[in-house]
């Protein structure tokens, strides 16, 4: 039996233990090396993946047999791409924290690796209960990362974040238990059993809204987003990267894997309403982003706009938009990490993120300027960057679903260009000149992160098919599950 998936899943847990062993000073390097090894493992996983085979490397062990709970994991193309995203971004996130002053680094890196484990678990779980456990487990490390290393107002903000997301999770738990009790006798949490349920209209609606609440808080979809800007701004940069780069993909993945195929009739019925929320969020968050003064807060709102578009695409239930959603999840992850890192570089050097106090960095920072430019173009979806592929597919799919919806969703591209160019102009251009002592040159680790992100932006834009081919058959299977019933 092929155990690569299990090894990829458990590797972060092993790394977490290993990273606790060496001395304080070496813990960051150890964690980086171990997560790099994890990345290589997942590349190996990617090589061995056969797109046409559907769900692969499925393994199932009884965990709590009396309750029909098993440790069942497996992956299809969508899971695989998200595993890749997690494992590629984690080393970058760890690397981005080098050179920053971090108290108690051992605990910090251990929590990041624990987070990675939980995220991978969410993407591979094929048992409802296991999914829930990983989902909750992901909340704990990020809570502590924000609580212990966050900004000034962290106690209040992180608690709000925690309770907000936990509300969603518990409602999801209720709906999972409900589904569990609907499965035939000797109940089970197996996802295949959930897919085969024949629920009535009201039952489907109940499950849809309780589960959707959990996912919508995490993504976050307007109007459940109010925890997000504060948390993003107050979290330490690696925490923000984890949150925006990977964690919110949990919600979109949950929609795709657990919600759509389980309650297809309710999705058909209420899809339009939900899309309206998503699209409202796109326009709303973009408008707010335009008037932000703080760069990090601006990116946070931009993030709401982008994920709103992705979620709208998910509910169109056509293959273009769904493929676009999956691809855009990856692009958004890469771009968000890049942008937050840029904000962090500016913050550590100039001690401010306020747009009006910045400017003129272009004059002596070559690599920084080019990398920022590329990442920004990726974010505004210029052709040949990663953002273009996803947004084009998404808008095409939404257009096929509903014209006016596409019109408003399309505003995100225009408004996105407005706030991105505006911030680029304010930060980089201008006559101001920072001396080397004010804006110290980038360190090697910083350069590595920026160059890697920029390279990913371009490579994903030029060769999207490498990734899309892996996911396309799985998306087709998924959509056939939704339309079959």
């Amino acid at each position: 039996m092929n155990n690569t998936l299990l090894i990829v899943l458990l590797w972060p847990l092993v790394s977490m233990v290993l990273s606790l062993l060496p001395a304080k000073e070496a813990s960051g390097k150890t964690a980086f090396a171990l997560s790099l090894a994890g990345m290589l493992l997942s590349v190996y996983l990617f090589m061995g993946f056969v797109p046409a085979n559907g769900m692969q490397q499925v393994m199932s062990y009884a965990w709590i047999p009396s309750m029909g709970i098993s440790f069942k994991i497996g992956m299809d193309g969508i899971s695989l791409l998200l595993i890749m995203l997690t494992n590629v971004l984690t080393p970058l996130i760890i690397l981005s924290s080098f050179g920053r002053k971090i108290e108690n680094p051992k605990a910090f890196y251990a929590l990041i690796l624990l987070m990675q484990f939980a995220l991978l678990g969410v993407f591979v779980a094929l048992d409802g209960f296991l999914f829930y456990i990983f989902w909750e487990l992901a909340l704990l490390p990020i809570y502590f990362i924000c609580l212990l290393w966050g900004g000034k107002d962290r106690v209040r903000i992180t608690l709000k974040f925690f309770i907000y997301t936990l509300t969603g999770s518990l409602l999801m738990l209720v709906s999972l238990i409900y589904l569990y009790l609907q499965t035939p006798d000797t109940h089970t949490f197996d996802i295949d059993a959930f897919y085969q349920l024949q629920l009535s209209g009201t039952q489907q609606a109940f499950v849809l809204w309780t589960m959707f609440f959990a996912f919508a808080v995490k993504i976050p979809i307007f109007p459940l987003h109010s925890w997000q800007p504060d948390t993003y701004v107050d979290a330490p940069t690696p925490g923000t990267m984890l949150l925006s780069g990977i964690m919110l993909k949990m919600g979109i993945y949950g929609l795709l894997r657990w919600l759509l195929p389980t309650v297809p009739a309710a999705v058909h019925e209420y899809g339009f309403l939900i899309m309206a929320f998503c699209v409202t969020g796109v326009v709303y968050a973009s408008c707010i982003a335009i008037v932000q003064k703080d760069f990090k807060r601006l990116i946070a709102y931009a993030s709401i706009a982008h994920v709103g578009l992705i979620s709208a695409g998910v509910f169109t239930l056509n293959s273009e938009a769904t493929e676009g959603a999956v691809f855009q999840m990856l692009s958004h992850g890469v771009n968000a990490v890049g942008l937050f890192f840029i904000a962090d570089i500016i913050m550590t050097r100039l001690k401010t993120r306020t747009l009006s106090e910045l400017g003129g960095i272009v004059n002596n920072q070559k690599i920084f300027t080019i990398a920022f430019m590329i990442i920004m173009l990726g974010t505004v979806a210029l052709p040949l960057t990663n953002g273009f592929v996803g947004e084009f597919l998404l808008l095409a799919g939404i257009y096929a679903y509903h014209k006016w919806m596409a019109f408003f969703a399309g505003l995100s591209v225009i408004l996105g260009a407005v706030y991105m160019f505006r911030s680029y102009q304010a930060i980089m251009l201008g006559s101001r000149h920072w001396s080397d002592s004010e804006f110290t040159p980038l360190t090697i680790s910083e350069k590595t992160v920026l160059v890697s992100v920029a390279a990913l932006v371009i490579l994903m834009g030029i060769f999207p098919s490498v990734l899309m081919d892996a996911a396309a058959p799985s998306i087709k299977t998924l959509l056939s599950l939704v339309s079959a019933r």
């Binding site: 704990l140 936990l166 409602l171 738990l173 209720v174």
Partner: protein
Amino acid sequence: MNTIVILSVTGIAAMMSDVFKLKKTLYGLSLLGLLIALVFSVCDWGQYASYFNQMVLTDNYAVVFTSMLIGMTFLWFLMSKDFFSSHSSASEHYALILFSLTGGVMMTNFSDLTILFLGLEILSISLYILAGSDKGNLFSNEASLKYFMIGSFATGFLLFGIALVYGATSTFNLKEISDYVQGHNGSLPTYFYAGTLMILTGLTFKVSAVPFHFWAPDVYDGSPTLVTTYMLSVVKMAAFAALYRLFINCFAPVYEFWIPVFAIMSAVTMLLGNITAVYQKSLKRMLAYSSIAHAGYMLMALASPGIASKNALVFYLLAYAIATLGVFNVLYQVHKVTGREEIKSVKGLFRKNPFAAITLTLCMLSMAGIPPAAGFFGKYYMFVSTINGGLTWLVLIAVLSSLIGVYFYFKVIIAAFQEPELENTAYYRQPSDLTVLYICGILSLLLGILPQFVAGLL
């Protein structure tokens, strides 16, 4: 049976120890007695035997609860050495604790209403004295008196209820009452129902369910911390074991009559307990209110009778008792060193002892019901059995009140990870002072990862 005998003998020996000059070895002897009792209790597993003219019945339900009671008392002894060393009347303390445990064991074994009453009285009277064992402290005196007055009142209700049920069915035996009720369902006199309600009142008093909870905060807050620990972990367990055993075995045929009562009580209890706990500054008082809230969750088991809820109750009680012992171990040490019991007194724990802070976090997570700690599975099993029983609204209320709970449980966790207010605050004198915390933290995690070892016992 043997368990009750051994525990009583150990208790009597402790009382006599002054005469025989056994005082120095009494701690060891008590632990030994508890261990032997535990072994005998576990050996009863699978044996279905009744004693004393069918007044005491050892079935698996009784074995599970007896073993849990003794196990928790054992853990409690490990953290409470001071309780016996610092007082002149140590031997009485030993005796009272052991007697109250005996009473608790009787409350899990009874198959006759008189034994239930006897057990409850043995348990309660010992506790009335223990609550006031800090003689110089006014709050302790207040707790004792309040507990005694209101407790006696509740006992009166219980006794009156038993008398009415006896009047209707002319027997004390659970099995016979159940048969009688089954046979005459629909033609039972009104005073039978009145009796049931009075018994319900008397027993829910002991588990501190709303609206019979108003004694609890003052008693839990005023009693010496270690006695409070004992009340919250062991006594609550015994009271719930008795309540569940009585209603499931005895009044099952008329469940339509009392299920709504328990369901509403459960909802009100968890909401009120959690909401009030939010406003507490004192950690001890907060835990007192949170224990009221937990009683609400446990009442969900009575609102959805069945095998699933029986297992859920066992798991919930165990998880809760373990977490309580762990948290109180910290609280007690903090109190001993700083003399304060506020939430902010645990500030700086992470700085001083990261491992202790992490295990405390685990215990708090267990109380809040967040995976991977044991308390999550307690809530989970409870939710499943309640949704299965058709009370989805109750589960939604439980979800809501758990969220309120997260807020104040996390205040403790946050405090533990914050910087200390005073420099050089020690949180324990020796590392071994926190042994019970470590045991409880590890147990909480183990039960959270491998719950099936306990979950499917019954």
